[in-house]
């Protein structure tokens, strides 16, 4: 698995050699999107499907986090979508949670449509997200995976939609295995990237944000970093 897609370790090793203090020439924007959810809902398969274009043949429980990047062009601008495929099992993620949420641009909550328990633990994930993110304007989306297993679906769409509306998140039902089922995985992430780039709110009925200065690329003002 690690050899097929850029693994976190290789990337980190390659970038650790940079001299502290020198800035690498910034080529393209990086959107850090983290994928959160219970163990075995399909986070690794979703991210793999998006970044490598196919379904992984063999997956194991993700330990810590796996990084998968994909460069896309949106409106002519080159953008790197950095997907953080996080671990679902508690023992594999316990010391990493603050690293997940640091400087994150968007959060994707994933549940398994054939497993009602994974749907019921969504409030816990959302709570954790609230604890670690200080601002409320980080876009979050809800994705139900494994919709191709039609006979085993336990989470009906209306229940999921109601939940998503309560938390003002858009809902997508998809399948990493058969991406042509319902919403396309590619489409989900590209939509998210578009919204991030253009800063439009994901939910139309949200109150519009106050107009920001054109220069601010990220929501956080830069001056606060230096104090």
């Amino acid at each position: 698995m690690a050899t097929e897609v850029e693994s976190s370790l290789e990337l980190s090793l390659s970038t650790s050699g940079t001299e502290p203090g020198t800035l690498p020439p910034p080529r393209s924007r990086i959107f850090k999107i983290i994928v959160i959810g219970d163990s075995n809902v399909g986070k690794t398969c979703l991210t793999f499907r998006f970044c490598a274009g196919r379904f992984p043949t063999r997956t194991e429980a993700t330990i810590g986090v796996d990084f998968r990047e994909r460069a896309v062009a949106i409106d002519g601008e080159r953008i790197k979508i950095q997907l953080w495929d996080t671990a679902g099992q508690e023992r594999f993620r316990k010391s990493m949670v603050q690293h997940y949420y640091r400087n994150v641009h968007a959060v994707v909550f994933v549940y398994d449509m054939t497993n009602i328990a994974s749907f019921h633990s969504l409030p816990l994930w959302i709570e954790e997200c609230k604890q670690h993110l200080f601002t409320n304007d980080i876009p979050r989306i809800l994705v139900g995976n494994k919709c191709d297993l039609r006979s085993a679906i336990q989470v009906p769409t209306d229940m999921a939609q109601k939940f998503a509306d309560t938390h003002s998140m858009p809902l997508f039902e998809t399948s990493a295995k058969n991406p042509d089922d319902n919403d396309h995985v590619e489409a989900i992430f590209m939509t998210l990237a578009h919204k991030l780039k253009s800063h439009k709110p994901l939910m139309l009925n949200q109150p519009p944000n106050h107009s920001t200065v054109q220069l601010e690329a990220e929501p956080k003002p830069t001056m606060t970093c230096w104090c």
């Binding site: 976190s8 370790l9 690498p24 330990i63 810590g64 220069l215």
Partner: protein
């Protein structure tokens, strides 16, 4: 006498007669004996046959009759009768005895029979019993065999059980070991993942910063029309005006040329301005001709908007084994370094206001007199007693360079604006400039007096001396450009962050603020109770230049407010002995002070 049958008449007859006599004698006796025996025989015969006729053995030997025999024959008839009677009695008695004996014999026979039957019975019983005995023996042997077999089987089963148990134990051990190893691996993987995540985050940050700076740079080049009052026509300020574009809120305040007066009301604004100025002045040559444009110029990132006035002790530690001479915060304000006469440089982290010992830098060959961090915070320069200055890299704690060349103890070592240049001052009356890449001295300046402290500007080196002067040395000119006299031996020099003012401390218990462009003394600070404790007492500006801080001989820290010129506060009763050095963290949050009694105190 020899009997010879010789013709000799008388003697032959004599001999013959003698012989006949002897013969008669012997024949007599012999005949008697024979008769006696005959009688005995006869008696015997009689005795034997009771009903028999008494016979007389007629044995008579034709011998000379013996009287005794005849007499005996007569007697013998009577005797025969007697004998017969006695013999008959004998016979009766013997018969009787015979009967008794036969009775007895019959009894004995019956007894014998009984005994025989008993014996037979016994022998039967014995036979049967022995038969049983044999059977039992046989069964016993059989059972014994069975027992043996069972015990063999038992032993086999037990051995199997033991083997299984042993196997189980081994497997269990292996399992536990594997589980432990699994946990270890998991931990190490998690650690690596955490590191990787940190790296990623950092990289993202860096990219973000880079992009941001690029964007800001782009924005500054764009002239935007904003309503700013025109200032005194200084070209510098025009540039500042342009850089103020990205921060529209700063356009409200009119800012003046900094430090035209002693007041610093517009301090915060100029801070902002300096931020951008500092960020973009990559092209400014900061060093002298030694440095090349490709070297890393670290922008001086002013990080403090306003320093907080420290009033409470945040943490104290007994930091060294003997006197501590130097204390310095790292530019990122998360570490403080202390060095003393015990030849150790210790690094402490100040996270959360607590001092945590992080690292110890070894390799100093003499006591440490002063410490300086380079602007990136990764290198530390220490000056030491035994005529050398040493450069450490903080990551691995190893001494990278040793700058030798001084003839006496090195009192101060400071980085210049780049990481590769340093200046040291020493008691051998020289100031040396070093190229740290080569580790060699690039210039030696004779300064005429013991140099107690050094401060570096972009182009100017300032040294404070034992002969109560402060000398300015320009890198372009060989000689001293300026001399400022003091009233006492100069113990320390400290340049403010904007490089416009110099704070000097001298042994006449006074601190002086000197303007670096006009080269005149702007302010003098004195206070009751402040005594300069040693020839190397250090005084520092606060990062935003609103306060001046020094430690006194009795352990009190004195703080003067630069704007008002008055003593702001004094922090006493913590140090028990003379305070050797003080340092202010660039973030403005902490103050560190060290004293002669090995104590390091962190104030906040």
């Amino acid at each position: 006498m020899a009997e010879r049958g010789a013709a000799g008449g008388p003697w032959k007859r004599h001999v013959l007669r003698q012989l006949q006599r002897r013969d008669r004698r012997t024949a007599q006796t012999y005949n008697k004996l024979l008769e006696k025996s005959f009688m005995l025989g006869a008696r015997k015969l009689r005795a034997e046959s009771l009903a028999l006729r008494m016979e007389l053995p007629a044995r008579s030997v034709p011998e000379e009759p013996a009287d005794s025999v005849g007499g005996e024959v007569l007697d013998s008839a009577q005797m025969l009768e007697c004998l017969k009677r006695s013999y008959e009695e004998h016979i009766v008695e013997l018969q009787r005895i015979n009967e008794e004996l036969t009775c007895e014999m019959m009894e004995r026979n019956t007894i014998l029979k009984a005994k025989k039957t008993a014996l037979a019975e016994q022998s039967n019983r014995l036979a049967s019993v022995s038969g049983q005995f044999f059977e039992m023996e046989a069964t016993r042997r059989q059972l014994k065999d069975q027992v043996e077999e069972l015990s063999r089987k038992n032993a086999a089963v037990k051995a199997e059980c033991d083997a299984l148990r042993e196997r189980y134990r081994r497997q269990d051990l292996e399992f536990r070991w594997a589980a432990e190893r699994g946990l270890e691996l998991l931990k190490s993987i998690m650690r690596m993942k955490v590191e990787a995540a940190e790296h990623r985050n950092e990289k993202n940050e860096r990219v973000k910063q880079g992009r941001l700076s690029k964007e800001l740079k782009k924005a500054t080049r764009k002239p935007v029309d904003i309503g700013i009052e025109p200032e005194e026509g200084k070209e510098e300020e025009q540039k500042m005006a342009r850089t103020a574009v990205p921060k529209p809120e700063s356009r409200e305040k009119p800012w003046r040329r900094p430090f035209r007066s002693a007041s610093a009301t517009s301090m915060t604004l100029t801070r902002y301005v300096d931020v951008f100025k500092g960020m973009f002045d990559f092209r400014l040559k900061r060093g002298n001709s030694v440095s090349s444009p490709s070297e890393d110029h670290y922008c001086r990132l002013p990080s403090c908007v306003a320093a907080c006035l420290p009033s409470v002790v945040s943490d104290t530690k007994e930091a060294h084994l003997s006197e501590i001479n130097a204390v310095k915060f790292s530019p990122s304000s998360n570490m403080v370094a202390t060095g003393g006469t015990d030849r150790l440089v210790r690094l402490w982290s100040v996270a959360g206001g607590r001092l945590e010992h992080m690292q110890m830098l070894e390799g100093a060959t003499g006591g440490i007199t002063s410490l300086d961090f380079d602007p990136s915070g990764y290198h530390l320069l220490g000056a030491s007693y035994n005529n050398v200055a040493q450069l450490w890299k903080i990551g691995d704690g190893k001494c990278r360079e040793i700058l030798t060349g001084h003839a006496d103890k090195v009192t101060a070592a400071k980085f210049r604006s780049t990481r590769h240049q340093a200046v040291t001052g020493s008691r051998d009356r020289t100031v040396k400039e070093w190229d740290l890449c080569k580790g060699a001295c690039s210039r030696t300046i004779n300064v005429f007096s013991y140099c107690n402290d050094i401060a570096c500007c972009d182009t100017v080196i300032i040294s404070g001396h034992h002969d109560k002067t402060i000398r300015f040395w320009d890198s372009r000119e060989p000689g001293c450009t300026q001399v400022i006299p003091e009233e006492g031996k100069v113990t320390s020099l400290s340049i403010s962050a904007d490089q416009l003012h110099l704070l000097s401390c001298s042994r006449d218990n006074a601190l002086k603020v000197i303007d670096l462009r006009m080269h005149n003394v702007r302010q003098v600070f004195r206070a009751e109770g402040f005594k300069c404790g040693s020839d190397w007492t250090k005084a520092v500006f606060s990062p935003d230049k609103s306060y001046a801080l020094v430690g006194s001989a009795d352990g009190t820290l004195f703080l003067w407010n630069i704007e008002t010129g008055h003593l702001e506060s004094s922090l006493a009763a913590v140090h028990g002995s003379s305070v050797n050095a003080v340092a202010w963290s660039p973030s403005g949050l902490y103050i560190g002070s060290v004293d002669q009694c090995r104590k390091l105190v962190l104030w906040t």
